[in-house]
């Protein structure tokens, strides 16, 4: 399955990410997470590579989890301090579901990041999507690792100025992350502007069509996999809407 056609992988990503957006029940999210993890491994991403990717996003994921746990006030109170409920079952469930959703999206990103960009572009063009749009999409995806590297560099630089992150109180840490994210986003915007200039200077979009030497073809195994994924998608989403 490692050499599966990019269109099959895109279908799998579509199913996973749609499920991540649609499913709200924790057990469904858990099922989707296992499905995503299985697919990620079958598509050739190693556990180590996935772990590295997860580690980079761990601080952000933990902040999201904490925000849900602290601010979602639904379900039964689990922890009550001086008569004031601070932790609700709904908050914990919502936090856990969001964390799983995050994981599913990371798995999808890991699979697509492993795929050759030109193969994906050719596959998208064969699906009838305009080359311009496909190219923009691929460039946007390429910004994710760059974004993560910039953020982890900022964290390292901050610590090397004598800041021990573990000793900073939680509330302050969130404000700190907000301060760190701003220059990282600004950096990404600057990079994208520079990229646009470079691409235009190289004549990108000067002609309406583009010839590609590379071709991607669906094999019999790819068609079988597509049928399985389609059926699985239809069944699960249908079942979720009817009985979930």
């Amino acid at each position: 399955m490692k050499r599966a056609d990019p269109r099959v992988k895109l279908l799998w990503v579509l199913l996973c990410t749609t499920g991540a957006l649609v499913f709200f029940r924790p057990m469904w999210m858990l099922g989707l997470t296992l499905f995503s993890l299985g697919g990620t491994l079958l598509f050739g991403v190693t556990l180590q590579a996935l772990g590295r990717r997860l580690r980079g996003f761990l601080p952000l994921a933990l902040v999201i989890l904490a925000l849900h746990i602290l601010f979602v006030r639904a379900g039964n109170p689990l922890v009550i301090i001086r008569g004031y409920p601070v932790l609700y079952s709904g908050g914990v469930m919502r936090g856990a579901t969001t964390l799983l959703r995050f994981f599913v999206i990371l798995c999808s990103a890991a699979v697509m990041a492993r795929e050759n960009t030109r193969r994906v572009l050719t596959a998208l063009t064969k699906l009838g999507i305009s080359y311009l749009f496909s190219f923009m999409l691929m460039i946007a995806l390429r910004f994710i690792p760059s974004f993560s590297t910039s953020f982890s560099d900022a964290l390292i630089a901050l610590q090397l100025r004598g800041v021990e992150l573990k000793k900073i109180p939680f509330g302050q840490k969130i404000r700190l992350y907000k301060d760190l994210v701003l220059p990282v986003v600004a950096d990404a915007v600057v990079k994208s502007k520079e990229l646009a200039i470079v691409m235009e200077a190289r004549g990108f979009g000067a002609l309406p069509t583009r010839t590609s030497y590379l071709d991607v073809r669906m094999t019999f195994a790819d068609w079988v996999l597509t049928c399985i994924l389609f059926s699985l998608g239809l069944l699960s989403f249908g079942f979720y809407y009817l009985f979930g």
């Binding site: 590295r52 610590q159 004598g162 800041v163 301060d179 220059p183 950096d187």
Partner: protein, 218 residues
């Protein structure tokens, strides 16, 4: 006791495509060491091992006598400063002044003393008039000097500068050399990664460490 001491290091990236090995090597206080080598030879990897950003597979890194594996990056940062090749990556606050007092504000230190120190450093590094300027509107040389100031604000006694002359014009290079001279005069230790002939010839008395295809040659 040397500021940084490396002994028989072996490091390999997770992908396994690059291995760096380094025999025993000391970086003393108050001295300058030049780390030289071609692009991709492992200079930056060595410098990241020296300040604990990367952890070795084998061997030992000691920072002011303590093993780096037992220290957090925050603890290391109090003694060792690292100037990134792209200093913009280590600036976060909106203005030059906020950048200087960012960490002290965050850690709730004495702001009056911090402001005085920040003012002194900015004046010394020629950034006094730029206090209110946004960090996004600084030139490359100014960003670099500001990043150096922030490292000194943290009290770093040993500084690692990763290719500090890249992208600097002659005037800014001269300013940098003056800063290096001043830091050495103050007794701080420095490790400068470079392949710039001008810098190497200017500090021809400094001990040179060569890195070639992942091998550190002392």
């Amino acid at each position: 006791m040397p500021a940084i001491s490396l002994s028989n290091l072996v490091f390999c990236y997770a992908k396994g495509d690059f291995v760096l090995s380094c025999p025993s090597l000391d970086f003393p206080h108050g001295e300058l060491r030049l780390i030289m080598g071609a692009n991709g030879s492992g200079k930056t990897t060595l410098s990241k091992l020296m300040c604990g950003i990367l952890k070795p597979l084998q061997g030992d890194v000691r920072i002011f006598g303590k093993p780096s594996s037992a220290l957090s990056l925050g603890q290391i940062g109090s003694d060792v400063g690292y100037l990134f090749q792209n200093p913009a990556r280590q600036l976060f606050a909106g203005t030059v002044w906020r950048e200087m007092v960012f960490v002290d504000e965050l850690l709730g230190r004495d702001l009056e003393a911090s402001a005085q120190r920040a003012q002194d450093l900015l004046e010394r590094f020629g950034l006094g008039v730029l206090k209110e300027r946004s960090i996004y509107n600084l030139s490359g040389g100014e960003k670099q000097r500001l990043a150096l100031c922030t490292l000194l604000m943290g009290g770093a006694q040993f500084l690692i500068l990763d290719e500090p002359t890249v992208g600097l014009d002659r005037r800014n290079r001269e300013i940098l050399y003056t800063i290096i001279d001043d830091l050495l005069e103050e007794g701080r230790g420095l490790a400068v990664i470079t392949h710039e002939k001008e810098l190497i010839s200017r500090y021809s008395n400094a001990r040179k460490i060569k890195v070639e295809r992942g091998q550190v040659l002392v």
